[in-house]
Point group: C2
């Protein structure tokens, strides 16, 4: 089991690839470059289009273009667009369903929500720009590694 689904993984690849191609490129091109199933990739790019990350253009010289700045796209944003909102456990997402029968006396509820927040904060803070260039000055990733080495966030 991986934390990120293939969808999420490929979405990041697509966004990264398009960032380096101002003229855009087609799903066919990307699928062959990274050896990804083309229909599967097309589905993902379609979703990214609907959520305003890409613009699409049909026809012979069609394709997709990145229309948002990498600094403004967080990992959490992408996950949410792919219908993969982050939840630590099943019971942490039953806001309307209230399915968890142990909700009132669950011994780990409070503690888990703290962990939830810490991971969620990472996903909200790290942007596509950080992924593309981890060593740039303002990258929160570098910050994180600093803290790690001093044992606080390790």
């Amino acid at each position: 089991m991986s934390f990120f689904s293939r969808k999420m993984d490929y979405a990041l690849l697509v966004l990264s690839h398009l960032h380096g191609n101002a003229d855009g490129s087609s799903a066919r091109e990307i699928s062959s470059k990274f050896s990804i199933s083309r229909p599967f990739l097309a589905n993902i790019m379609k979703t990214l289009c609907h959520h305003g990350y890409l613009s699409s253009h049909r026809g012979v010289h069609g394709g997709y273009v990145l229309i948002r700045k990498p600094e403004e796209i967080s990992l959490a944003d992408i996950m949410q667009s792919l219908d993969e909102t982050f939840h630590l456990t099943d019971c942490s997402k039953d806001t309307e369903k209230q399915t968890c029968s142990a909700r009132t006396f669950c011994p780990i509820r409070t503690g888990m929500s703290s962990v939830h927040d810490r991971i969620r904060n990472i996903l909200s803070d790290v942007t596509l720009a950080d992924i593309l260039d981890p060593v740039r000055p303002n990258s929160t990733i570098q910050f994180g590694l600093e803290l790690v080495s001093h044992g606080s966030d390790k």
Copy 2:
């Protein structure tokens, strides 16, 4: 999709419940209290037994007892015991297979591994004791939230 599998979730419940019961309790008791399928739970408890977290005792007054200190059980430990080692993406675990064809020119490899490390460090640092009592003085969770509020780990 949840970050933790049901297995992981139930394992944490079991360990937490047993921590409050020095005399131990049976799988039937726990499964009915939390409305969990007994055989499914039994499998998890067996695994926890084999990895030295619990001791089991058959018979009329049998059951399971927690035999390790909560401070010495990290989330990463539990995940590993359940055969659910953390990986951010599929390609981040292909150490021997080397399946990823884009490995050499992957635009997100470096950036992703930083995120991987940050999340993994949280899982290694948070222990069962932190989950049980998030506000105790030495809890790394509190540490994390402190950092969050100052923008470094947010």
